[in-house]
């Protein structure tokens, strides 16, 4: 990987166009966190199991630890930093996570909220089974998920 030449890759993240110089196979996760300072996206396992690094690429839910940055060329990316409104108003999901105990230690929370955002875009009025399936790629060790399900259902009802 370090033998490949760096190249300039352009994409839009949270509404902002950026050019980054990176190795094409660099992980999108590292580019977001290190080059762009968007540290809200977390690394929990580095092998696509835990979902802490979840971001939306052209609206699709992806693990940014498994995504070479080259795949993001020309894409529109949303990270947790882009979920609240421009005036810092929390999204319904973010608000519900606070109110219903969906966040404890908080390390899975950005990825979980991104996954839930993706879920609600596909299923605006989800059943609990759909919520469970939609979040199955995001591990949480604190909550036992019950309050996350509740937060997502409550946010959907708003």
């Amino acid at each position: 990987m370090s033998d490949a030449a760096p190249c300039t890759i352009r994409f839009v993240v949270n509404g902002r166009a950026v050019d980054v110089d990176a190795h094409p196979m660099a992980r999108l996760l590292d580019v977001l966190r290190v080059e762009l300072g968007l540290t809200g996206t977390k690394e929990g396992c580095g092998e696509g199991e835990c979902g802490a690094c979840s971001v939306l690429v052209n609206g699709e839910l992806v693990n940014s630890c498994l995504t070479p940055v080259l795949q993001a060329a020309g894409a529109t990316i949303t990270t947790i930093e882009g979920i609240a409104g421009a005036d810092a108003t929390l999204s319904a999901l973010q608000q519900a996570f606070i109110e219903h105990g969906g966040a404890q230690c908080g390390i899975c929370t950005p990825g979980m909220i991104i996954a839930a955002t993706s879920l609600l875009a596909r299923h605006p009025d989800p059943t609990e089974a759909e919520v469970r399936t939609g979040l199955a790629g995001n591990l949480c060790r604190c909550t036992g998920y019950m309050r996350i399900f509740e937060a997502v259902m409550k946010a959907a009802a708003r």
């Binding site: 809200g40 396992c45 105990g101 966040a103 404890q104 230690c105 908080g106 604190c142 019950m146």
Partner: protein, 745 residues
């Protein structure tokens, strides 16, 4: 006077920063000139280091390299016995033992370098099981491989067993369990000869502080430990962060640059501590009327290669081994043994999940042998207020296990389901079962631990009309910040938003003890309340506030006081509740200030084609004193139950030559959102006189009773003589096959 907030679901203090991604964890921090540290570890479980080679044609002169020769003597991480080296020197005692530290500005190059260091080791015989350790054939610790042993002895067990109408024996085992916090461990350090600062993911700032001041022979004020936002701990960040902090500080000191040392998942899983594996043997004597007349319990923990926290884990496990029952003749022998695996350490429950799994599974076996229903046997033997436990603790507070059991069985529809399942199972390839466990968990440090800790909390008023808590108790997801603010708000009649909780930083907060042992709400929370009252009294004494004055009058008086004196700060120091006494020598007395009590019920389906177990319903009923925050409290129980479901069914550490072979989330399986039943949580609230607003401890309790409830349900469903967790499909099938084989012979 602001509306009370204790008992209400106020928003988590740091909730906003967590849901927006603004919360800063250690790997989110950076500094100019930062180097990345990596750790080179032992490839074998035991041996002598012959040499270290730096291969691969890398530019080694660009690297900061630290070995045992760079570690100040005596090269030990301070804990209980100070037996664990900071870096291995000469002798290797477990796989993955740290030997060499490297740092470089290029993280990728640092990782390549880690793989290019070769440690030549002359192997020595390793001790890789409890049986090998107990046999003493190879001695790797002291004269007999025993780190610590305890003996509890009340009455005359041998005579009572000889006279018992029924004697039932059983042997039970539990496996290692990885804490698997989603944020791997890490530290950043800056250091020079004058002093050290570390920022990191940790539970116990003053443990790290003590390890660093001891290792580097620095005075207290030259070492500063700051907790970054911490992505889960569960005990896993109790003692191990001291190592990472020392390693980062050594690299920072040698390089003269800031050093970040953050583990990746694989390193975190194979190298850091796990829950102690255990084996428990029970010999139980019963009278003809179903009363326990003798309990003979042999409880053994696998401590790994160094002593670390094993003596206290063993103690908690030993003190919980007889459960919530009264028995006049009890002998509990507890031993923590040395093996050649990485040291096992703190994990939520801390020895109690192991000994309570054995006991509560055994109680169902005893009931069956005695021809009693599982609930009937327990009802005949629950300890009640006024009785004395095997440890010599008089139950001063009300104990109402009978009522808890009634309610839990009603909530889970236990009796009806048990009958229905019994009728339906014969014809069905899917067998249903229901089982329960009744148990207790002591809150706070064991024995005289709290007295020795002598924890301190400060509370200060600020010029802008706020009150700030200064405590070393860390927020690791469980809600420390929120409950401390609630306690202050209601003690002083001020708004929840008027309370701040300082970031734990040893330069700024006193030593409130570690964030462990279900002690934060009950013990430290009470200190928070007391310090707030002292603050209030200072204003009364200064003539600025009427006796017991709160709310706006209090805030106004604070401002006046600060205007005159510049600062207003009050301190509280732990003193035990009246009458609580523990004899360290005799190992008897009041083991815990208070107990939480619980009955958990699991309903399961076992598919006899695949031997997979599905949990259909889970009821968790507990008495934890007053509930300070209903959402946080339920979250603690649900999260603990989920971890314990993993412990019971999924989470299996595969050991190969003393090393965890499945150190990845791909093949060490924790519960996902698809694996859990509805977890139904219920509380009985009986305010405890010596906890803040009546609260007792809660955090560890849910880890204790889940595995035995599930095991009992599986035994009910299938008839399998389940005695070991995790109960994987493979292990359950093997158990059934053995039973069928035995029946044929």
């Amino acid at each position: 006077m602001a509306a009370p907030v204790v008992g209400r679901a106020v928003p988590r203090k740091e909730g906003r920063s967590k849901v927006t991604g603004q919360a800063r964890y250690v790997d989110d921090l950076t500094m100019p000139g930062l180097l990345h540290g990596v750790t080179v570890r032992s490839p074998v479980p035991r041996g002598r280091i012959r040499g270290i080679r730096f291969e691969g044609g890398l530019p080694w002169d660009e690297f900061t390299i630290v070995t045992a020769r760079d570690v100040p003597a005596p090269n030990r991480i301070a804990l209980i016995l100070n037996d664990q080296p900071c870096l291995a020197d000469d002798v290797i005692n477990h796989a993955e033992e740290p030997v060499v530290l490297l740092a470089h500005a290029d993280k990728g190059l640092a990782e390549r370098a880690r793989q290019s260091v070769v440690i030549d080791v002359d192997p020595l015989p390793a001790v890789l099981s409890l049986d090998e350790s107990l046999s003493g054939r190879e001695v790797i610790w002291g004269t007999d491989n025993v780190f610590k042993s305890y003996l509890v002895n009340s009455g005359d067990v041998d005579a009572a067993l000889a006279a018992a109408d029924i004697v039932v024996e059983g042997e039970y085992e539990t496996g290692a369990q990885e804490q698997l916090y989603i944020e791997p461990q890490g530290m950043i350090s800056i250091a020079d000869a004058e002093g050290i600062t570390v920022w990191g993911s940790l539970q116990c700032p003053y443990y790290v502080h003590k390890a660093l001041t001891t290792l580097f022979s620095l005075p207290d004020d030259r070492v500063r430990v700051v907790q970054a936002e911490t992505g889960g701990g569960f005990g896993g960040k109790e003692e191990y962060p001291s190592h990472i902090a020392a390693h980062a500080a050594l690299l920072a000191m040698k390089s003269g640059r800031p050093v970040k040392l953050v583990y990746d998942r694989a390193e975190d899983m194979v190298a850091t501590t796990k829950r102690h594996p255990s084996r428990t043997r029970h010999r139980t004597g019963l009278s003809h009327d179903g009363r326990l007349v003798a309990m003979d319990i042999d409880f053994v923990l696998d401590g790994g290669a160094y002593c670390t926290l094993s003596p206290v884990v063993l103690s908690r496990g030993t003190l919980h081994a007889a459960g919530p029952y009264y028995c006049p003749n009890v002998r509990i022998r507890g031993r923590a043994m040395a093996t050649s695996t990485p040291p096992h350490g703190a994990f939520r429950g801390f020895g109690a999940p192991q000994s309570l799994f054995a006991l509560e599974r055994h109680m169902d076996v005893v009931a069956a042998r005695a021809g009693l229903a599982p609930d009937d046997l327990r009802r005949r033997n629950f300890i009640v207020q006024g009785q004395t436990s095997a440890i010599g603790q008089v139950m001063r507070e009300p104990v109402e296990m009978d009522a808890l059991l009634d309610r839990a069985l009603a909530l889970s529809d236990y009796h009806r389901k048990r009958e229905t399942f019994d009728r339906a199972n014969g014809h069905s390839p899917v067998k249903q079962g229901i089982g329960f466990a009744s148990f207790l968990h002591g809150a706070g440090f064991t024995g005289s631990g709290e007295v020795h800790l002598a924890s301190v909390v400060d509370v200060e008023a600020t010029a802008d009309g706020h009150v700030r808590v200064l405590a070393a108790s860390t927020e690791i997801g469980q809600g420390t910040n929120t409950i401390f603010a609630q306690i202050i708000a209601d003690t002083l009649g001020i708004g929840y938003d008027q309370v701040e909780v300082a970031q734990p930083d040893t330069a700024n907060v006193p030593d409130s003890g570690p964030t462990v042992a279900s002690r934060t709400a009950m013990v430290v929370g009470k200190l928070v309340e007391t310090a707030a009252r002292t603050l209030q009294q200072t204003l009364v004494d200064a003539g600025l506030l009427g006796t017991g004055g709160t709310g706006d009058a209090f805030i106004h008086a604070c401002r006046t006081y600060i205007g005159t004196h510049g600062a207003l700060r009050a301190r509280s120091i732990y003193s035990p509740p009246p009458g609580v006494q523990w004899d360290d020598e005799a190992y008897r007395g009041d083991a815990y200030g208070a107990f939480a009590w619980a009955v958990y019920v699991a309903a399961v389906s076992v598919d006899t084609a695949t031997w997979e177990t599905r949990i259909d319903d889970f009821v968790a009923l507990q008495e934890i004193g007053r509930v300070l925050h209903p959402v946080l409290a339920a979250g603690q129980i649900e999260g603990g139950v989920a971890q314990a479901i993993g412990y019971a069914l999924l989470e299996e550490v595969i050991w190969r030559n003393g090393r965890m072979a499945n150190g990845q989330m791909t093949n060490y399986i924790m519960p996902t959102s698809m694996d859990l039943p509805p977890i139904r949580v219920f509380f009985e609230e009986r305010p405890y006189a010596h906890g803040p607003f009546g609260a007792k401890g809660i955090g560890e309790l849910p880890m204790d009773g889940v595995a035995p409830a599930i095991a009992n349900a599986i035994a009910h469903a299938t008839g399998a003589a389940v005695s070991k967790i995790p109960i994987t499909p493979e292990s359950l099938m093997a158990t059934i096959d053995r039973q069928l084989e035995a029946a044929r012979v």
